[in-house]
């Protein structure tokens, strides 16, 4: 009989939901009641909508408890640990019985996320127990040459998971072919898209897999130094990376002649980004590491030719590196059995927005948007209608419901006008106004533009002005055409990905929801009832009971009416904050 283990998910998502307190409570009871189980930490388990998550593994099976706030700890330990009786209603996943959330996991294939939520990310031993550092050892033992490793990566069909989708093996090959004495490997961990948290979860959950991926890359291209460029807004990721690097150094996995490979020296540094979105662009990222203002440089030369400190440099993103050890260890054939003809393997997505089961999922390429949203994601919150999904963050585009059969692969997604991006999937329902969404993303890119290219700098500002006008009901005929013109100017005339893709949210929403734009412009109406200047709140006389709750809640005193009398909203004063709408228990407030 092996020892019972309790694992608490302590990723940023878990901690935010109170998992830290849950962990402390379990520990406290374990000590006071002298309970015999092993208490362990892990990172994000993926089911962000059920945080805090606590997994109990005993001889009988595995049981994942969801929403374990501190008040439930005592009960779970009492029943499950002391009395060996799992509480089925709290369990979200188990190998013993079906749970309502089982669909979330069905259809997922864990490659990049293989260790996330399963191991203690601060323990190098746990990583090693899951074939960690076995890929680089395999390279050493089988005396694989750098060309051999690059060939494996090429054969796997892995394409850059940062969004560009360039073949990873090709990128390595370019860097390899450049015979410079000094080369660099950079991990782009500057995940800046609103609503994206794939990289953060990987860094927090399995930092050693990134390290191993980078070591393999260093060996393959002939680099002796690596940088992980991680945004400073990810303190937990940085902490765990630092622990991982220290432990790897202690074990001699970083340093000189590592893994017994003669003359293979490799070490890593972390460079914390200062919060500029554009630093996710590889040349701006390089400038930032060099201590310059993070601004894109013209390409060519590409980093593979002249990158960091003018040396050949290979940059991949976090997820790409996380796949590498698995591919090398299990072989490319095993990897490319997943996916489509041109997009192999799996992709991690961060599901957010109006979806029921928000969280982190890893799915094989080729799965449709619909499957992700309805099967894994459990559909739309509150039974509302699914409207569209934003793929690829501010650089991506909006895919409407009627294209939700689109399979997830680079080429199919590009064909819609969106991009795969790094994996942010923001789901919108019928209450989301697409014009407002386009405005939101443009506001973001406009602020985050480095300001170098004329069109990106001035054009995005101009577009934002127009979109803001439209959402205020001040749109004019010709605005849509001007937006399209400006979009094309910006796309054609910008140096880096930020500018080239910044108009995507506008272009795709115009493409798929032109009628909504027209409604705003011509009829001064927001069909989604979202744009404040275009909506009114009114009391429905039949339903109003005169309970005064709305009047008391109104922050600007726009509602008048005596107790038990009909209340009235003064549109002049009303700021359309919607407090009355949410407070009314009698459905007596209407939005129009």
């Amino acid at each position: 009989m092996s020892k019972t283990t309790i694992i608490v998910g302590l990723g940023s998502c878990g901690l935010a939901a109170g998992a830290g307190k849950t962990y402390n409570e379990i520990e406290r009871i374990k000590n006071t009641d002298k309970l015999d189980f092993e208490l362990k930490k892990t990172s994000c388990i993926g089911m962000c909508f059920r945080e805090p998550l606590v997994e109990i593994i005993d001889d009988s099976g595995t049981y994942l408890y969801g929403n374990v706030d501190v008040t439930k700890v005592d009960e779970i330990l009492e029943k499950h640990i002391k009395n060996f009786s799992p509480i089925q209603e709290y369990i979200v996943k188990s190998d013993k019985f079906d749970s309502p959330d089982k669909d979330f996991f069905e259809g997922q294939v864990e490659i990049a996320l293989r260790n996330c939520g399963h191991i203690d990310p601060e323990s190098i031993e746990e990583y090693e127990s899951k074939n960690g550092y076995a890929a680089i050892r395999k390279i050493a033992n089988e005396k694989l040459k750098p060309e051999d490793v690059i060939q494996k990566v090429l054969d796997s069909g892995l394409r850059g998971r940062g969004g560009g989708g360039f073949a990873t093996g090709m990128k390595w090959k370019f860097a390899y072919n450049n015979k410079a004495p000094q080369k660099y490997v950079i991990c782009n961990a500057d995940e800046g898209d609103p609503g994206a948290f794939m990289d953060r979860s990987l860094l927090e959950g399995d930092p050693h897999s990134i390290l191993e991926g980078m070591i393999i890359c260093g060996y393959s291209i002939g680099a002796s130094e690596g940088y992980i460029y991680c945004r400073a807004e990810y303190p937990l990721a940085i902490k765990r990376l630092n622990i991982a690097i220290d432990k790897a150094r202690e074990k001699g996995y970083l340093g000189k002649n590592i893994f017994g490979i003669e003359n293979f020296n490799f070490d890593l540094k972390i460079k914390e980004g200062a919060g500029a979105f554009v630093c996710g662009e590889e040349t701006a990222l390089i400038a930032s590491i060099e201590g310059e203002r993070g601004m894109p440089r013209r390409r060519p030369p590409f980093p593979a030719e002249s990158g960091l400190w003018k040396s050949p440099t290979n940059i991949n993103n976090v997820e790409t590196f996380a796949n590498i050890p698995w591919i090398v260890f299990n072989g490319p054939e095993k990897y490319n059995q997943y996916g489509t003809e041109k997009s192999k393997g799996t992709k991690v997505f961060a599901l957010t927005g109006k979806i029921k089961h928000g969280g982190l999922v890893e799915v094989p390429m080729g799965i449709t948007i619909k499957e992700i949203i309805y099967k894994l994601g459990g559909g739309i919150q509150g039974g509302k209608k699914f409207k569209a999904v934003q793929l690829g963050g501010p650089s991506g585009g909006c895919i409407p419901e009627y294209l939700s059969h689109t399979p997830i692969d680079y080429d199919s997604v590009n064909a819609t006008g969106a991009i795969m991006g790094s994996g942010g999937m923001v789901v919108m329902d019928e209450t989301t106004c697409v014009v407002d969404i386009a405005r939101f993303f443009l506001d973001f890119t406009q602020k985050e533009s480095c300001g170098k290219c004329t069109f990106c700098r001035i054009g995005t500002k101009r577009m934002l002005e127009i979109l803001t006008r439209i959402t205020k009901g001040e749109g004019k005929d010709g605005d849509i055409e001007t937006l399209e013109e400006l979009s094309h100017s910006i796309k054609d005339s910008s140096l880096c990905g930020l500018g080239q893709t910044a108009p995507n949210p506008v272009l795709t929403t115009i493409k798929y929801f032109k009628d909504e734009y027209e409604a705003h412009i011509r009829d001064k109406k927001c069909p989604a009832l979202k744009c404040k200047e275009l909506i009114t709140y009114d009391v429905i006389p039949e339903n109003c009971t005169g309970c005064t709750v709305c009047a008391k809640g109104c922050p600007v005193n726009a509602i008048s009416g005596e107790r038990k009398q009909l209340h009235v909203i003064d549109h002049e004063i009303c700021t359309r904050c919607g407090v009355c709408f949410t407070k009314c228990k009698f459905n007596a407030i209407k939005l129009s």
């Binding site: 203002r293 170098k452 700098r457 005339s493």
Partner: protein, 907 residues
């Protein structure tokens, strides 16, 4: 050299160097492709997108500024689509650009607006948005104003500061459309910006503009633009002077010419106010009953000539002497020394070089046969290693320093030897901070380490050094006493640092030395430089390209004045006066009997003053010098001058010295004359008259000629400085091939022996200029100073210069702009000494030496070592030379400005 290839632009075949910039190639061949972010002196940016072209077989419109040309490229530079696209781009830029131009600058955007017919707002596809962007105006700098509403974020100012000047002060703040230029971490004035104005010169839109004359100046109504050489330090920057109503209203750098290629420093660009100052001398004046009275030139010249003749008759020709001037042209110095030698009949002519690089020149002449810098200014960028000793090069030779900083950015190794921190330390690989006046020991220590580690160049010693290895052995023996331990004990510099510096210098592929006042202005100045030369010779770091020894010169013509004979020992071109053949040759050119030329060397600057003090010199003719401030031991100088029977001072301003004159003669400033000067890298450069001399002020050479004539000597009849230069070229073979016509655009570096000689960029490549053609090693021992700190005077004072002021400050302190940066004297005291003396930063203190005392302000800083202090010497209200010694270096007769014992007390 890159391969020359052919490309086609709009079907025209164009030749270009492979890899050169496409936009530049197109423009050079007459294709006027617009572009605002590109500047030929900067790395391409590719921001504005105005320079788009089409390239066959390449999709899209390509920014030509980012394309290196390749064989066979076919370019479309102009067609309707491109012009439409450019017009579209320009209208974007105009949308964020505030067009409220003032008329004080020419920008590059207005002509483009016209060209693309975008003058009328209704012609612009994009409406203005600049009013909606946060506007940042920085008005804090004394020299410029920045207005973000006129800025198109083209990077040119940032790159000008970084890539051209090597300062890196400017950057962008904020993001996207709100971004603006920021200096340092905030305001311009509180940043490290030193006001050089490179950013102003390169700004294409008027976002950064000059402050002086901004309100009144209409740039389109400028009367003239004149190219001349900067009147300040010895770099010799080529400047373009903008003149309106006979007043200088702006100075810009001239592109594409050496030594500065368009760069200027704050003094060169903004220090011109003195020329139009109301304080200029405008009339000759004779002191009568203690009061200066304006007189006519006739009266003044008659009076001066009769007094000189009278004294000469009464006391003999030995009783007369003259100070020539490093601020005057070659022609004027030539005439002045000719005047002294013919009219005074002796060789008592010297000038401030005696106070600056006399020791360096003495040592270099003895060892190498030439006393001038061996390299060109460009070499400061491309040599592998630069050793800078006793030379605050960033402050005193700012444009030479730009080459150094650019070199550093490209990987150059820099060694700084200086007892005081200088800004160059920030760029240094090693900084050796020896105690004051221990340089000989330090250098012998380095030589010892070099020998011990076998880093010598035996081949060089055998072939290029007189006495070969035998001469080396004598140096080795002497240096062996200076073990690292012993050297550390004397100098305070750690063994490790000595080793590091010795290794970098000796093992560098190419290494150059810049040596400054810190080395030369000591009683052991000549020995200091001998030690440097010894190190140079045993490592073979001279006599080949990018190697050598260079004394950057402090004044615009300090090099030229000696070159043309303002020297008690040499005729023009370093021809010794003591040699009879030389005298004969010179006498023939000057058309005087050779017997009339004095065969004995004359007195040097300090010797002249001492002789005056002793009553041997009775009359002096001082042209453009201010010895009361610049000579050591001010009290002694004043006493000496007071003892003179007759003193004539010819200058552009009243100075501390004119006070004691009997006659003051008003002269033209450098902006008011034609002629030539020689800069630190021996480049003969043109001066051109930009404005008229005020009142009745006259050209210095004309005054000399007139006085001589009235004394009964004809020293020549010249119509212009060009005539004088022609005679000079005959007298001095090193100038033999130089004419005004040849140096119309680019200067020529002497020696240049005939009209086909291209000039000499590096000295000593084939041989040294000694009789044997080989260099000489002079082993020298370290000597302690004659005065050392004691209970009465426990500290040592060092002195030096600041970027913003210039020498005795006669010129620079007339500039409001320069004064806004630095206008106060101070003494730097080490924090430990300050604690001991109970002093805080800003305390008023009295500084006393055995010679005198002064009051100033304490500045507590670890820029100096414990026991040492430092004062800038520009400020007459705290005259440093009231404290310095009247002791001189026996060989070069230089004064010890860098070492005086003092005590400091709170007032």
């Amino acid at each position: 050299m890159s391969k020359i290839i052919e490309i086609q632009i709009d079907s025209k075949v164009v030749k270009a160097a492979e890899g050169s910039n496409l936009l530049q190639v197109a423009r050079d061949n007459g294709f006027d492709i617009p572009g605002l972010c590109y500047h030929k002196k900067l790395t391409p940016t590719g921001a504005c997108r105005l320079c788009v072209v089409k390239i066959d077989n390449t999709p899209g419109l390509i920014m030509s500024c980012t394309v290196p040309v390749k064989e066979g490229m076919k370019i479309t530079a102009f067609d309707e689509e491109l012009e439409q696209n450019r017009r579209h781009t320009l209208s974007y830029l105009l949308a964020e650009h505030n067009e409220e131009f003032d008329d004080s600058y020419e920008d590059e955007i207005r002509p483009l607006i016209k060209r693309y017919n975008l003058e009328k707002p209704e012609n612009r596809p994009l409406k203005p948005i600049w009013q909606g962007i946060p506007r940042v105006v920085d008005n804090t700098s004394p020299v410029l104003t920045y207005d973000s509403s006129k800025c198109i974020r083209c990077f040119r100012c940032i790159k000008a500061c970084d890539e051209i000047q090597g300062k890196g002060v400017l950057s962008f703040a904020d993001r996207g459309i709100s971004k603006y230029i920021v200096a340092g971490f905030g305001e311009w004035f509180n940043s490290e910006c030193d006001g050089c104005g490179e950013c102003i010169q390169l700004c294409p839109t008027g976002a950064i503009v000059e402050k002086p004359f901004r309100e009144s100046l209409k740039i389109s109504e400028i009367d003239s633009k004149v190219i001349t050489t900067c009147p300040y330090c010895g770099v010799g920057c080529q400047t373009e002077i903008f003149v309106k109503n006979d007043t200088i209203v702006r100075v810009d750098g001239v592109d594409d010419v050496s030594p500065n290629d368009g760069r200027l420093c704050v003094k060169g660009r903004f220090g011109y106010q003195y020329a139009n100052s109301k304080k200029r001398l405008t009339h000759p004046m004779i002191k009568r009953n203690g009061v200066f009275e304006k007189v006519s030139w006739d009266e003044a010249l008659d009076f001066v000539s009769s007094k000189f003749s009278e004294i000469k008759q009464k006391y003999g020709s030995k009783s007369l002497a003259g100070y020539s001037s490093a601020k005057c042209s070659n022609e004027e110095n030539y005439i002045f020394q000719k005047f002294i030698r013919i009219a005074f009949g002796n060789n008592n002519v010297d000038y401030c070089t005696r106070l600056c690089h006399a020791s360096t020149v003495t040592a270099m002449l003895k060892s190498f046969g030439d006393g001038a810098g061996s390299n060109s200014i460009e070499d400061f960028e491309t040599t592998d290693c630069l050793l800078v000793t006793g030379n605050n090069i960033i402050d005193t030779h700012p444009i030479t320093a730009t080459y150094v900083k650019r070199g550093k950015a490209a990987g150059q190794k820099i060694i700084v030897i200086d007892p005081k921190w200088t800004p160059l330390v920030k760029y240094a690989d090693v900084w050796l901070q020896p105690k004051l006046a221990t340089d000989v020991a330090l250098l012998n220590g380095l030589i010892n380490i070099i020998i011990e580690n076998g880093w010598i160049d035996k081949n060089f010693i055998e072939n290029r050094v007189e006495g070969g290895m035998q001469a080396f052995e004598s140096l080795k023996e002497l240096a062996s006493k200076y073990t690292p331990e012993k050297t550390e004990e004397i100098t305070g510099v750690s063994k490790e640092k000595l080793y590091e510096a010795a290794k970098i210098y000796a093992t560098a592929k190419t290494a150059m030395i810049a040596t400054g006042m810190g080395m030369s202005q000591q009683t052991v100045g000549t020995n200091n430089v001998f030690s440097l030369i010894n190190m140079c010779l045993i490592t073979g770091q001279i006599g080949k390209e990018l190697c050598g020894l260079n004394p950057p010169r402090g004044q615009n013509n300090v090099q030229g004045a000696t070159d043309v004979g303002a020297s008690p020992v040499n005729y023009p071109g370093y021809i010794p006066v003591t040699n009879e053949d030389n005298r004969k040759k010179v006498a023939e050119i000057w058309k005087v009997p050779f017997e009339s030329l004095d065969p004995k060397p004359g007195l040097t600057t300090i010797e002249i003053m001492n002789a005056a003090y002793d009553g041997e010199i009775k009359a002096m003719y001082i042209m453009g010098e201010n010895p009361v401030v610049t000579d050591p031991d001010r009290h002694h100088t004043v006493e000496a001058i007071k003892k003179l029977d007759f003193l004539v001072v010819q200058d552009i301003f009243e100075t501390e010295t004119t006070e004691f004159a009997d006659v003051i003669l008003p002269a033209a400033s450098l902006y008011e004359k034609d002629g030539t000067v020689v800069n630190s890298d021996r480049r003969v450069l043109r001066l051109r008259k930009a404005i008229s001399a005020p009142g009745e002020a006259r050209q210095d050479w004309q005054i000399c000629v007139d006085i001589a004539e009235r004394m009964g000597f004809k020293i020549g009849s010249y119509n212009s400085p060009e005539d004088i230069f022609a005679e000079l070229a005959k007298a001095a073979p090193i100038f033999g091939g130089i004419t005004f016509a040849r140096i119309e655009k680019h200067g020529i570096q002497w020696p240049c022996y005939d009209e086909n000689h291209p000039g000499t960029s590096t000295l000593f490549l084939e041989k040294f200029n000694t009789e044997s053609g080989k260099a000489k090693i002079f082993p020298v021992d370290y000597k302690e100073q004659s005065e050392t700190p004691n209970t009465n005077y426990p500290l040592v004072m060092n002195s030096g210069r600041l970027l913003y002021q210039y020498h005795s400050a006669t010129m620079s302190r007339k500039s409001k702009v320069l004064n806004a940066y630095a206008n106060e004297a101070y003494i730097i005291i080490n924090p430990e000494d300050a604690v001991k003396l109970g002093l805080k930063d800003g305390d008023k203190v009295k500084v006393t030496s055995p010679r005198g005392s002064l009051e100033t302000t304490a500045k507590v800083s670890d820029e100096v070592l414990k026991g040492e202090t430092f004062m800038p010497w520009h400020f007459n209200e705290a005259p440093v030379n009231a404290l310095t010694r009247n002791e001189i270096d026996p060989m070069s007769k230089i004064g010890p400005f860098k070492y005086s014992v003092v005590r400091v007390e709170r007032v």
